[in-house]
Amino acid sequence: MMPNRRQVLAVGGGGVVALIGPAFVLAGPVEEIRMQGTSRGEHVWFAPVGLAVAAGTTLRFVNLDPGNSHTATCYHPTLFDRPQRIPAGATPWDSDFLLPGDSFEVLLTLPGVYDFYCLPHEHAGMVGRIVVGTPGDAGWQGAATEAGDLSAVALDGFPSVEAILKAGRVMPPGQP
């Protein structure tokens, strides 16, 4: 199950979304967030659920769940009319459905907090948070403070910015 059936690069901040081939060589660090679930689909999650990265990091979402499809979709008014939970000026991204083995990449350039969810599994608490840079960075934009239309189970899923910055990465409850 090679994560190469679809490779998509979305460039945050520049308004550029480009299709690339697997041979494309990315400059800068690459971090991975896995989409996972139990074999019967009782539970689904992003791992890690919270991740701290430097500006200029490429994030790769990869679906390692053999029995389900997932998306990595950021909270933004232009995507399904959701509240904005990524820095102003950052380009919103939506991976669309990733089948098992598929992956999606997004380059994060603006410092701040990025909250995202899985379209079919937000109601099951499948959300995540990426912290780019640190609060001292120029232009830093912190976490959204309004709940908006998010359910309690989704809001409960975001680790605190402090916890993410302290640990670097936060795994979902019950995952090693």
Partner: protein, 140 residues
């Protein structure tokens, strides 16, 4: 709508005092079942073969409950699956007189699923295995 129990079949079932299962009598042992069945992976973004359930076919008009027909890697019918949203059950919806792919039911598994394309709401999977080896044939 060959899946629905026809009046004639129902009459025969009564006469034979058959156990209360409505059989999808025209469902073939070998995939693919005829229209209105469609392959689930052609309808929504899901892989062709789902570990534990197999290659699924469903009549879209019967969503969400199904029956879904699960075929093994060799294209042989191995399970009939029903998917019943918890919220709908809680709200009083019942799913009655559902057809089965085969009357040869060796065992049944029931478990929770948090949702997937096609049946997004959290639901129960009710899996009727057709044959003692059916679960193993669908495992992966």
């Amino acid at each position: 709508m060959f899946l629905n129990l026809s009046a004639a079949t129902f009459g025969i079932a009564l006469m034979l005092a058959a156990p209360g299962l409505a059989q999808a009598e025209d469902v073939p042992e070998a995939a693919p079942p005829p229209a209105p069945y469609a392959k689930v992976s052609d309808l929504v973004a899901l892989p062709d073969f789902l570990p534990g359930l197999g290659t699924l076919f469903v009549d879209p008009a019967t969503l969400p409950a199904g029956p879904f027909l699960g075929y093994d890697r060799d294209g042989k019918l191995a399970a009939t699956i029903f998917m019943t949203p918890i919220e709908d059950l809680q709200g009083g919806t019942s799913y009655n007189d559902l057809a089965v792919g085969s009357n040869d039911v060796s065992s049944v598994d029931i478990y929770y699923n948090a949702g997937h394309p096609g049946v997004e709401k959290p639901h129960a999977h009710v899996v009727l295995f057709h044959g003692a080896d059916a679960k193993a044939r669908l495992a992966e």
